[in-house]
Amino acid sequence: MPRPMTVAEKILAAHAGLDEVRPGQLVECDVDIVLANDITAPIAIDVFRELGATEVFDRDRVCLVPDHYAPNKDIKSAEQTKKMRDFAHEQKVAHYWEQGCAGIEHALLPETGTVVPGDLIIGADSHTCTYGALGAFSTGVGSTDAGVGLATGRCWFKVPPTIKFEIEGELVDGATPKDVILHIIGMIGVDGALYQAMEFTGSAIRSMSMEGRMTISNMAIEAGGKAGIMEVDDVARAWLEGRCQRPYVEYHADPDAEYAQVIHIDAADIKPCVAWPHLPGNTHPVSESTHIAIDQAVIGSCTNGRIEDMRAAAEVLRGRTVNPNVRCIVIPATQAVFKKCMAEGLADVFIDAGCVFSTPTCGPCLGGYMGILAAGERCVSTTNRNFVGRMGDPTSEVYLASPAVAAASAVAGHIAAPSDL
């Protein structure tokens, strides 16, 4: 009998061809998916060539997504997307989406069923941990790891210890999945899960939509986590039905699996909150942040650009207008989300409220384009990072919040909860 294992350990063992693994063990694994984007792929392609490789390990297991500076923001970005496009065509990569068919990678891959439960996924983007919500072991790597992965389909891993977060009860008083993960990062710190896997469980997770779960797994990296995993349940199975491009494997933690730590959280203790500059762990309740005037609100990103996020923002903005001192930028994460916004009338709500309503892009989240901040400006954003200079000038400030809070703040002109309007 192999030792009792966590979900992370089981997936790594299976992909290393071993019966069991234990934390600290170094293993070489076959990966199911190698992902890169227009910023990280160009270097990965150079690595691929340097290796002398001529063919990707499996054209059906490579994902290349132009999303960060696409549609091309300038000539240099155009060269980067071109380099990735040329490579995708040369290698007949199955999962390349052209601008117009694409979207933000971490919304697009689950939505299209390209990533499935039980997968071992490496992505040259730190928010690759998003697919943990599907029961996959999915982690961010650099371009060299991705380039080696493109050539060999293999990657080395140090098996991480796992921290289990048991979140029990119901979210109340307007708290959302974004508040859950900000609360956790605030509690354990931005390196609280360094070198470790995070496993999220409990009745609050089980009663949450897949969109909400992906918001939580997405930000595991902001606590230093290597993965942010959830077990597959009936909600996940229903969402995956008819979507997955491949058969999938469910891995469940053994009841006596060893955890580095088990942290219990009462969902009722989680307040709608905002992460003040300049760390995602610098969380404060919305109620203590309402004195902060804002210049911009951004609603979108791989963290909060899914249809449920758009609905939450539209619910607040319906029949209201954006404060004249604020630019509110709404960016659905994929073309499918964009179309749903049109079909459900949400696009009208945003435009009537005076929002910018844009085609999918990562643009403003990382200070690329489509919403750069001037010196001293403040933005409330549903994105994932608020580091110095993240969204523009080094003296600008980013406050991280849920879609409902970002929308309410856009109307109020300062940080606010929907109940403040």
């Binding site: 270097i43 730190s126 650099g142 790891d145 760390l279 200070g367 690329g368 990072r385 200079g389």
Partner: protein, 165 residues
């Protein structure tokens, strides 16, 4: 490998956005990235540092994005190595993979002030404060990672493995 240089001392949670801001990620040219290294943290770093100098920082160095442009910018700027109390895991992998020497040693970080002359022997993991003569032993690398470093990075190691097949 043996390095000697002046310490540039920084705090904790130095993120990849301040190491190389995303406004420069529309290129992967090493010299271009190096010219903006640490720009949003220490705008005069690039003009003050000399080849061989050493970055010394507290916990969680390199947190945030997976951009390999961050260790590339540091290496291409001429920094010989980074000493920190701990590294964010993607930065750690990326540094090893591209051959930027990194050492974890909380005691050395506490004993090295900005501007101090430091020598580093990566083979033994010894860090010496040249001004005081104090020496510190950093965490040794696991053999598997030492093998990647010895090969000169992951590309060389993988190329050798592919050739052997």
């Amino acid at each position: 490998m043996h390095f000697e240089g002046t310490a540039f001392r920084y705090g904790r949670d130095i993120d990849t956005d301040v190491i190389i801001p995303a406004r420069y990620l529309n290129s992967s040219d090493h010299a271009y990235l190096a010219s903006h290294c640490l720009e949003d943290l220490d705008p005069t770093f690039v003009e003050r540092m000399k080849p061989g100098d050493i970055i010394v920082a507290e916990e969680n160095f390199g947190c945030g994005s997976s951009r390999e442009h961050a260790p590339v910018a540091i290496k291409a700027a001429g920094v010989s190595c980074v000493i920190a109390k701990s590294f964010a895991r993607i930065f750690y992998r990326n540094a090893i993979n591209i051959g930027l020497p990194i050492l974890e040693c909380p005691e050395a970080v506490d004993a090295i002030a900005d501007g101090v002359r430091v020598s580093v022997d990566t083979d033994t993991g010894t860090i010496t404060n040249i001004d005081t003569g104090e020496a510190f032993a950093s965490e040794p690398f696991p053999p598997f990672i030492a093998e990647i470093i010895e090969a000169g990075g992951l590309v060389n190691r993988t190329r050798a493995k592919l050739a052997a097949q």
